[in-house]
């Protein structure tokens, strides 16, 4: 028997009076902060961060050959930076208090932090998104705009490169038999992490100026100039230069202080520096928060 086909031209009207259920309002996104508190809001972001990290890893390892080359390239660069100091120290015994092991450790920290910065590379391109009106897509999502931009563009594989930096530090400590207490290691790492955060904060501050000034690529050059300096032990420079790179462009915390704390300075001095760094980080966080919030309020875009 032939199966009756539904009459597509004259469909039977469906009686919706009995089956009608309460429809959710799709336009109204649940506000986790209000309904379930800040903890759920944070948990949601952490979960998203994890998911985006997995996606990022899969994307990076999609092209195996390129992935391998990227890592080899990092090794080459690391070798070149360390060898640079070897060449310099062929001509002089040491650079003020900086001898070869310390300079190699400094390079390790530079690598560690630069890789971390690349993981969150999206921060460096926020001005372009503001200019092009690309924030719309993030503004309609029930997540923090900044978080969404950063998480969606993570380059998680660069953590491997960061670990190369740590390996070189460990290697130097073992080869030159430099004995360090665990507290110093923790202090140096904390300082380096916070240093990365500080550079990100300053970058975000300068990038946010795009809300008012339009194209601000030039400020990125300023930060890049900071990175040029970062490769060298900043304490060898005159006090005024050191002060500039401590407060205004705080790249001194990326490598110079962590290396000094690890090898030369006492724990007490390390704690004092960390305290100062926290203070500067607090100041920059306040500034970034203010400018970002004001910028987002000012942001406008027409079209899709």
């Amino acid at each position: 028997m032939k199966k009756p086909s539904p009459d597509l031209l004259n469909p039977t009207p469906v009686d919706t009076t009995e089956t009608e259920v309460e429809k959710p309002d799709l336009l109204e996104e649940p506000d986790f902060r209000v309904k379930t508190g800040k903890l759920a809001y944070v948990r949601k972001h952490l979960k998203l961060f994890y998911r985006f990290s997995v996606i990022s890893w899969k994307r990076s390892t999609e092209y195996k050959f390129n992935f391998m080359l990227n890592n080899i390239q990092q090794l080459v660069t690391l070798f070149i930076y360390v060898y640079f100091w070897r060449i310099i120290l062929n001509h002089i015994p040491q650079l003020r208090e900086w001898d070869f092991p310390m300079l190699a450790i400094l390079t390790g920290f530079v690598f560690f932090n630069q890789s971390l910065l690349v993981v969150f590379w999206a921060i460096w391109a926020i001005n372009r998104r503001i200019l092009k009106g690309d924030l719309d897509v993030f503004l309609v999502r029930p997540v923090s705009v900044l978080f969404a931009i950063i998480a969606q563009n993570l380059l998680i594989y660069r953590l491997l490169e960061a670990s190369l930096g740590l390996i070189i530090i460990l290697g130097v400590l073992i080869k030159y038999e430099l004995h360090v207490v665990l507290l110093k290691v923790i202090l140096a790492l904390l300082m380096a992490f916070l240093g990365t955060y500080l550079v990100m904060a300053v970058t975000l501050f300068l990038q946010s100026l795009s809300f008012w000034l339009g194209r601000t690529n030039a400020f990125t050059h300023l930060i890049q100039a900071g990175f040029l300096v970062n490769r060298y032990p900043i304490t060898i420079f005159p006090k005024l230069v050191t002060a500039f790179f401590t407060v205004f462009l705080p790249v001194i915390f990326i490598a110079t202080y962590p290396a000094l704390v690890l090898v030369k300075l006492s724990v007490t001095r390390g704690l004092q520096i960390l305290g100062g760094e926290l203070l500067i980080a607090g100041l920059w966080t306040f500034l970034v928060y203010q400018i970002w919030q004001r910028g987002i309020r000012r942001y406008e875009n027409i079209g899709g």
């Binding site: 092209y63 080359l69 040491q94 194209r215 100039a225």
Partner: protein
């Protein structure tokens, strides 16, 4: 001049308009230079002081400082990895199909589209450098013959850099991604071109290796000619090497491009 046909002039005009549109941004690009100068000055002064020598790498401090600064100014004007990355993007996205149907040569199109801005930057940078040199009493090249040699070397270095990164970009015909390769080359170039440290400071064996690679002719040679560090016969010989390397990469890029086009596939519009 045939090379500057109207279509390429149009690309140059667009570049100028882009610069003109964001004047503040253009000016601010030079903000890193004073920072760089301060760092280079104090770092190398200290190294000279600790070494107890008056010369390092065959240069006294004043000349050495000019080397480091000029290497930076010149470096700004040279085609770089952006060329390779742009070519990769064009090949991967299939835009190449549209370009090859136009009455333009791909290598000229990329050159005028991408590198004119950097060239303007570089020339302005060098002009600024000369101005500062006169004002602060730094070393300034005063020999017209060396000026000619320097200019020739400068042009050849731009050509060599361009064809080198152009060839590298063409690898995108076969490779899934070339980011890793360009970044690896970037680091190697930085070291062997004398950008990080003058090649004359290298230990003997490494200096020999550096002389055998093309990177030396991408940056070190023009700077060394400006500093009059080569006697004229040696300068001409070095220019010959530079020309040979440029010709090599120009021919190689054309072969690779031809082979790549045979391999190239694009579907859709």
């Amino acid at each position: 001049m045939k090379i500057l046909e109207a279509k390429y002039l149009a690309l140059i005009k667009i570049s100028f308009k882009r610069v003109n549109e964001f004047k503040f941004d253009f000016v601010m690009r030079y903000v890193e230079i004073p920072i760089y100068l301060v760092i280079v000055y104090f770092l190398w002064r200290l190294i000279f002081q600790f070494s107890g020598k008056t010369e390092l790498g065959g240069m006294e401090f004043d000349v050495f400082f000019v080397y480091m600064v000029l290497a930076r100014f010149i470096f700004v004007s040279f085609p770089f990895t952006e060329t390779s990355e742009e070519i990769e993007e064009i090949i991967k996205s299939g835009q190449l199909t549209a370009i090859i149907t136009r009455p333009v040569t791909f290598e000229k199109y990329i050159f005028f589209k991408l590198n004119f801005n950097t060239l303007v930057d570089g020339l302005l940078g060098i002009a600024l450098f000369l101005l500062v040199s006169f004002a602060l009493g730094w070393y300034v090249l005063d020999d017209p013959i060396y000026w000619i040699l320097f200019t020739l070397s400068f042009i050849l270095a731009i050509g060599l850099n361009y064809f080198f990164y152009f060839t590298l970009g063409l690898l995108a015909f076969w490779a899934d991604e070339i980011f890793g390769i360009t970044q690896a080359i970037r680091s190697i170039r930085m070291f062997f071109s004398g950008e990080l440290i003058p090649l004359t400071m290298f230990p003997g064996a490494l200096l020999t290796v550096a002389s055998l690679l093309p990177f030396k002719y991408m940056l070190f040679n023009p700077v060394f000619l400006y500093l009059k560090k080569y006697p004229i016969p040696e300068a001409i010989r070095q220019l010959g090497f530079q020309l040979a390397w440029m010709a090599f990469f120009m021919i190689l890029s054309r072969i690779v491009y031809k082979k790549g086009l045979e391999w190239y596939n694009s579907y859709g519009g």
